[in-house]
């Protein structure tokens, strides 16, 4: 170990149009460590990473790499210095091949032109290193699944021989197997004296992998400590700055409930194969299972986005699968969907908060063909107040809000339609702890009002903490249903892997 940290930030500050993203940050990272960066959304982690990897320039402060002061104006300069970042939003070009993408900016060349054979061989060697030999280097990235794309992104980063590797929520889209591979890879890199910065909201991953943890809050570096030096509770407290009580609101007593949403034998292409489940009035039903088992497609089918769906769906009095979102959201079914990607599916980012809030409720604010500005304003103000959305003015662009507040706008938009059935597609992904808790409380409150909630989450803790019942999907069908005390992590994991109780083996 060298005496000096490999990466050293001193006095780094960054402002964006009035917001202080980073304030006088001192931060250091050593070689041969896996260093976690924790913090809520808006804590400054993203900005920190962007500055280290050359996407942004700091307003003040210095950065030293291996003892030398550096200043990156663009990502390629950082790459040249050995700083490589794997972003949450992938940096792959969908219409180019895997091999092209792995060597995107710096391919092997011959006579000024790209040497495709050398490029392919390079890709094959890197893919082998991350156990992805099954990925065809000549395949277009567009044709790969999300998990494979993330692995290609990792391959691309590895191909640049990093000295400092930054992973920004890089494991969120991966299958279990691939996640294990990444863990092994990080351990290897640590052996090779590479420094890794690991950003994740998944505490179990952080605890498993990282030897050093740093907490950021409100743009400041709060504390850095070794693994084990602080309890989970302490860590959360450091992150949100206040005592945290029970994370999840209490659940009501289990009891028979009138079914509000009934699904029987839902099938679609080869993604849904006879899925059946029921959600009762006032119930929160969790949808679990590994990624990509049909959970997303189930919700899209219920919302009328998919064509050629077979099976029976009954919502309250109405039978039949909705043919479009317009039909789904209208009476009597009144289904709403909070989609997976709020930035591209839930919001119109450049438009104002008010416009986004009203997007599903034009009829409510119209008298005749015209919109009533008075009613508009009052509904918008109500929505903002009800969900405690932190806004400057409702006319500001929704893009200026933090991730958690943006998600609240999406939810508020739908609450304005007074839905009976609420479909939530991983609503707390990438959201800070404080807002997550608000969302859990809101879910329970909505359920208590008699609505039916179907809640897909990739976080076991959420499924266990929020849901009255949990159904696990595997390969397009519902394989297990858990309720009450039976909802625990082992059961969920076992069901996700399709290990039935009759062949139950001890799951470590």
């Amino acid at each position: 170990m060298s005496d000096q940290p490999f990466l050293q930030l001193a006095g780094i500050s960054k402002h964006f149009a009035g917001t202080r993203a980073l304030e006088n940050v001192d931060f250091a990272c050593d070689r041969g460590t896996i260093h976690a960066v924790l913090g809520e959304n808006g804590a400054g982690k993203s900005t920190l990473i962007k500055i280290i990897s050359g996407v942004l320039k700091p307003d003040a402060g210095t950065m030293k790499l291996d003892g030398e002061t550096v200043e990156f104006s663009r990502p390629s300069e950082a790459n040249a210095a050995g700083v490589v970042c794997i972003f949450q939003e992938l940096s792959l070009v969908p219409d180019l091949t895997v091999a092209d993408n792995i060597s995107l900016a710096n391919p092997p060349r011959r006579l000024g032109m790209i040497d495709r054979r050398a490029q392919r061989q390079f890709a094959e060697s890197i893919l082998a290193r991350i156990k992805c030999e099954d990925v065809d280097p000549n395949a277009l990235v567009r044709d790969l699944s999300l998990s494979r794309r993330q692995m290609v992104e990792i391959a691309k980063a590895l191909g640049k021989s990093p000295r400092l590797l930054i992973l920004d929520e890089a494991t969120s889209a991966l299958t279990r197997n691939d996640v294990e591979t990444v863990y092994e890879l990080l351990a290897e890199l640590r052996q090779d004296n590479v420094a890794s910065l690991f950003i994740s909201h998944r505490m179990n991953e952080v605890e498993r992998l990282c030897d050093t943890l740093s907490v950021f809050r409100n743009g400041r570096h709060v504390e850095t400590f070794a693994k084990g030096a602080r309890s989970d509770r302490d860590i959360v407290r450091l992150m949100i700055g206040r005592e945290v009580d029970a994370q999840f609101p209490p659940k009501p007593a289990a009891g028979a409930r009138a079914p509000r949403l009934t699904i029987e034998n839902l099938s679609w292409e080869n993604r849904l194969k006879g899925a059946s489940l029921t959600v009762g009035k006032g119930e929160i039903v969790g949808l679990g299972g590994l990624d990509g088992q049909g959970q997303k497609e189930l919700m899209l089918a219920l919302f009328g986005v998919l064509r050629g769906v077979e099976g029976q769906v009954r919502v309250g009095a109405r039978a039949g699968i909705p043919a479009s979102p317009v039909e789904a959201k209208s009476a009597p079914s009144r289904i709403c969907l909070v989609p997976e990607d709020r930035k591209t599916e839930g919001l119109m980012l450049p438009m104002s908060i008010a416009d986004n809030l009203l997007a599903a409720s034009y009829a409510k604010v119209s008298s005749g063909p015209f919109i009533d500005p008075g009613r508009e304003r009052s509904l918008v103000d109500d929505a903002i107040a009800k969900l405690h959305i932190k806004v400057g003015s409702p006319q500001d662009a929704v893009a200026t809000l933090s991730g958690g507040n943006q998600q609240k706008v999406v939810i508020a938009k739908w609450l304005m339609t007074d839905p009976e059935v609420i479909l939530l597609n991983d609503p707390t992904r990438g959201i800070d702890v404080g807002t997550k808790q608000e969302i859990y409380r809101l879910m329970r409150q909505l359920a208590d009002e008699g609505r039916a909630i179907l809640f897909y989450s990739t976080d076991y803790a959420e499924l266990i903490g929020c849901c009255d019942r949990v159904v696990i999907m595997y390969d397009g069908a519902v394989v297990t249903e858990l309720s009450g005390e039976a909802i625990n992590e082992e059961a969920i994991v076992a069901a996700s892997l399709n290990i039935t109780s009759s062949s139950m083996e001890s799951v470590s």
């Binding site: 996407v55 663009r74 990502p75 390629s76 790459n79 972003f87 939003e89 992938l90 940096s91 792959l92 070009v93 969908p94 219409d95 180019l96 092209d100 995107l104 900016a105 710096n106 391919p107 060349r109 000024g112 032109m113 790209i114 495709r116 065809d136 280097p137 000549n138 395949a139 277009l140 691309k156 679609w268 292409e269 497609e297 899209l300 986005v305 998919l306 064509r307 050629g308 599916e345």
Partner: protein
């Protein structure tokens, strides 16, 4: 990966291109069968002459389209180049060559300016090139207020006929030599398009700059994050478009032995170049396709217009048939959309 399956992958990925090629071959075959003097050298040469300009323009249009943009000035730049050529390309051999070089340089420089405006002015290509196209037309009108001009007679003959005539006109060697016989029938315009078009485009596509252009059209954010030279690639794209447009203009001037600053004609050429690009399998959204496909698309358009001469269609119906065929042609690719089962995929 075995050779056979990688060939299959390649065909699948280039469906648009191979489909267009098949269509072109079919159309041209049927045309020659129906033509009273089909499969003859004279018809081939005439067809080739009339195709060069639009083929070059289609290639020019392809590159900004690959970026996800559009160049509405290509027709005007072609016209400007033709007018410049009609002034300069005559006189002594030195003057002729000089004139040709100036023409090409002018078009390329214009394209370069387009690139500068789009990149450093941060304007959307559609509207920037709409405006610069008007400027190019204005300049063309200054140079040639009325159609006319003078092109070297030998050049005109040599470049609009077969290789035999080219060799004969310039006395390069004995055009009846036996070794030359298999090549002597090749129309020079085809050769010009092939050599310049393919000769410039294919290597360019294989450079990092070429790859950057595709990347920008496919995912500009990702391209930036990956450190690709975005600004330089955009400027290069428009510059190359200007180059190909000026090639088309130069040929047009040589072929017609005059320069004609006709706004309507320039506009029609520009819009046809867009149609050719789409027919050739390049996506208007960017990232997919290539100039070879656009060449084929342009040839398809041209061959379709040739049909009118040989089929006795009421001349009053011709524009209607042209319009319907164009509409159907661009709609063909759309029927894949009807098979999409997840409507979210429609909103790219």
């Amino acid at each position: 990966m075995s050779g056979l399956s990688s060939a299959a992958t390649s065909i699948r990925q280039n469906r648009g291109l191979y489909g267009a090629l098949a269509l072109l071959v079919l159309l041209y075959l049927v045309y020659n069968i129906l033509h009273p003097r089909g499969f003859s050298s004279a018809v081939l040469i005439q067809n080739a002459n009339e195709s060069v300009a639009i083929v070059f323009l289609a290639m020019a249009q392809t590159i900004p389209v690959l970026l996800g943009g559009l160049d509405l000035s290509v027709g005007a730049v072609m016209t400007l180049a033709a007018c410049i050529a009609s002034v300069l390309v005559n006189g002594s051999p030195f003057q002729i060559i000089f004139g040709m070089l100036v023409t090409l340089a002018a078009g390329t420089a214009f394209g370069f300016c387009n690139g500068l405006i789009v990149v450093y002015g941060r304007l959307q290509p559609i509207i920037a090139t709409l405006a610069t196209g008007a400027i190019a037309m204005g300049l063309a009108l200054f140079i040639r207020p009325k159609p006319g001009g003078d092109i070297d007679g030998d050049l005109n003959w040599a470049l609009t006929n077969s290789l035999w005539d080219f060799v004969d006109t310039y006395g390069l060697f004995n055009p009846d030599a036996a070794w030359f016989a298999p090549f002597s029938w090749i129309p020079v315009p085809l050769l010009i398009v092939g050599v310049i078009g393919a000769g410039v485009w294919i290597p360019f596509r294989r450079t990092v700059m070429g790859r950057t252009i595709y990347a920008i059209g496919s995912a500009e954010g990702a391209a930036y994050m990956s450190g690709l030279p975005i600004d330089r690639a955009k400027i290069a794209a428009f510059t190359l478009a200007g180059f190909f447009a000026s090639c088309g203009g130069l040929y047009l001037a040589i072929q017609t032995a005059s320069g004609n600053a006709d706004i309507t004609q320039a506009g029609a050429y520009t819009l046809n170049s867009i149609a050719a690009v789409v027919l050739g399998g390049t996506s208007l959204l960017g990232g997919i396709g290539g100039a070879i496909g656009s060449m084929i698309g342009a040839l398809i358009l041209r061959v379709m217009s040739f049909y009118f001469r040989i089929l006795s269609i009421d001349p009053l119906l011709q524009p209607l048939v042209e319009g319907v065929v164009l509409l159907v042609a661009v709609s063909l690719g759309a029927f894949g959309v009807l098979r999409i089962k997840n409507r979210l995929e429609l909103f790219r």
